[in-house]
Amino acid sequence: MAQLTMVEALRDGLRVAMADDPRVLCLGLDIGTLGGVFRVTRGLQAEFGADRVVDTPLAEASIIGAAIGLALAGLRPVAELQFLGFSHQGFHQLGAQLGRFRTRSRGRFAVPVVVRAPFGGGIRSPEFHSDALEAQIVQMPGIKVVMPATPADAKGLLLTAIRDPDPVLFCEPDRLYRLGREEVPPGPHLVPFGVARLARAGDDLTLVAWSAAVELCLRAADRLAGEGIGAAVLDLRTLVPLDVEAILREARRTSRVVVVHEAPLTGGFGAEIAATIQEEAFHALDGPVRRVAAWDVPYPPGRLEDHYLPSLERVVRAARAAVRD
């Protein structure tokens, strides 16, 4: 098995999907000759042709809207938004259209569209490039929301997304794109949706996270281990479908949960995790589910992001407090 970065794993996944199924086509900004601003699609246009790896005009709503139409024509479009922050330019095509096409057509039309979008902080990106919008998208029923945190999962979840008969928003943590390598199974490696991954075992508390925050939690767990605190890390992998069972299992097992995410605290998806746990496992808890998140202010300029994002320090402190409950 090859040791791949997340970028390489995603590229491998796209290559497998395109080789396997002639209906798969990619579209988006700068994905052709350039291979996308993060080079995920590098080489794919040369390999599969300019009509399967299509550079589109600069217009997000039409990228999503056209992907809907391509899917209706029987294709399997994988659209790339240059950054998730710019999904707002096409939000009306996402929630009300893509997410509801099956419902709106009373089941006549499926729209198997995957929308890929890098996001997240930590790489000093310009304005709007780091915004973590997952909580907004979870409020768009009909769309599955996928949040890989490792190279192997990125590939496996992407292939599952492309085969899924329904629309998927596939969010890629740009900070992790090249952060490390891991063994990634070759060929049609599939990771199912809705099955959380225990990224690290630990008995004193559970850190719940997705996307780049998983990596942060793993570092926090290392630090906590040094203090004799055993922190499990649960990687949700997909927010829709949500592995409620795994979350509750962990809550019942360790009785102490800290959720960590990059979006602003108030109304972030961490609220849903906390609400669900206390609703379903109230008496199993030793103390409240704690949340470590970004502050309730706009994503700041790159030089300030370390003051804004959940830090290792803050996760560790929340974990210590949880253990004291």
């Binding site: 589109t56 809207g65 391509l70 209706l72 024509a73 009306h92 009373r106 008969p165």
Partner: protein, 352 residues
């Protein structure tokens, strides 16, 4: 690229042809077209009456726009071409093969009945203005990529033409040379907003060149000219020559929809003038002059239409009311466990 300024016309309000008009529809097809226009008109009247009785949902009539809708959709081959509607084009849905009884039942409280049959090349009506346009472009592009020689005809209003989606769709269509025809029904109004406040452009069709394809203005109350212009555009698209923007200049004779009261904002004199240009009148005159229409035929056609409507309404009334499960049907191919649990919960509650 100067096509945008000349307004195409063939059938004059008098029912006579403009000298030199190259008519693209034989008389018997014009007769069928008139029957479809009448169906549309009578459907509207019935829907409005039913809505007033609380037996029908919100309805947006096509009154006054029948030539624009019928003339354009008749240029399609429903066996390969697609219609991507806005929401005021009943005649085009029927032309594509969508069942009248389905439309009626959906409007009478049975949404699941509105499902378009598998062989019918039609997308659902679009309430979010202009959102259908990038989808139509993607569909056209995709069909061509799949080797089909299909053309997509998509409808929009003068109001919808102000949305960003209009621009993005047209621009993409030009770039990929999608086989798509944009049929812009400029009916003078977007609810209460007159065309004059919608855009300072002399014509909306003048936007075509900005996307690299022709824009054409046509008298939207002229069945024959709309058909000719659309047939040309469909021909171009099918030949691989790319999109066309057609501005059919017509007039909304009725209200925006059954929740609207246009007396608050329309000028009765303007409306009266528009009524004189009713597209049905001139087709009737044309066919009468050709000996292909008379009062008897009209009466028979109306009876047949009313019968169809009666039967469709009676059928809809016999359908059982949808239950809570209908909220969950067709959302996902494989719903997330949480949604399945909610469905079970909703069904259990409904039984209590």
């Amino acid at each position: 690229m100067t096509a945008a300024v000349r307004r195409r016309s063939q059938l004059l309000p008098s029912g006579r042809l403009r000298p030199g008009a190259a008519v693209s529809l034989p008389v018997d097809e014009v007769r069928a077209a008139l029957e479809l226009m009448l169906l549309s008109r009578r459907f509207d009247a019935r829907a409005i009456a039913m809505q007033r009785l609380g037996r029908w949902g919100v309805h947006s009539p096509a009154e006054g726009q029948e030539a624009a809708v019928v003339g354009s959709c008749l240029a399609l081959d429903p066996g390969r071409d697609w219609v991507v509607p806005q929401y005021r084009e009943l005649a085009a849905y029927l032309h594509q093969g969508h069942g009248l009884e389905r439309v009626v039942a959906a409007q009478m409280g049975h949404p699941q009945e509105g499902r378009i049959a598998d062989e019918v090349r039609l997308l659902p009506v679009q309430v979010a203005l202009a959102a259908q346009l990038p989808q139509a472009v993607g569909l056209a592009w995709g069909l061509r990529r799949q080797g089909q020689d299909a053309v997509v005809l998509t409808y929009l209003g003068d109001g919808a033409s102000s949305e960003g989606d209009f621009h993005e769709a047209c621009n993409l269509a030009g770039v990929v040379r999608a086989p798509v025809v944009f049929l812009l029904q400029n009916n003078g109004w977007a609810i209460s907003t007159p065309r004059r406040l919608q855009s300072a452009a002399t014509t909306l069709a003048s936007r075509g060149p900005g996307y690299g394809f022709p824009g054409v203005v046509v008298d939207g109350n002229d069945l024959l000219a709309v058909h000719a212009v659309t047939a040309e555009a469909v021909g171009r698209a099918r030949a691989g020559d790319g999109p066309t923007l057609i501005e059919a200049q017509t007039y909304r004779l009725g209200f925006h929809n059954t929740t609207d009261d246009p007396t608050a904002y329309t000028d009765p004199a303007e409306l009266a003038a528009a009524r004189a240009l009713d597209p049905i009148l001139r087709v009737r005159r044309y066919l009468t002059a050709h000996g292909a229409w008379d009062e008897e035929r009209e009466a028979a056609a109306c009876r047949a239409i009313d019968d169809r409507l009666d039967r469709a309404i009676a059928r809809a009334e016999r359908l059982p009311a949808p239950g809570p499960a209908a909220c969950f049907d067709d959302v996902y191919a494989e719903p997330p466990p949480r949604v399945l649990a909610q469905r079970a919960h909703a069904l259990a509650e409904a039984e209590v």
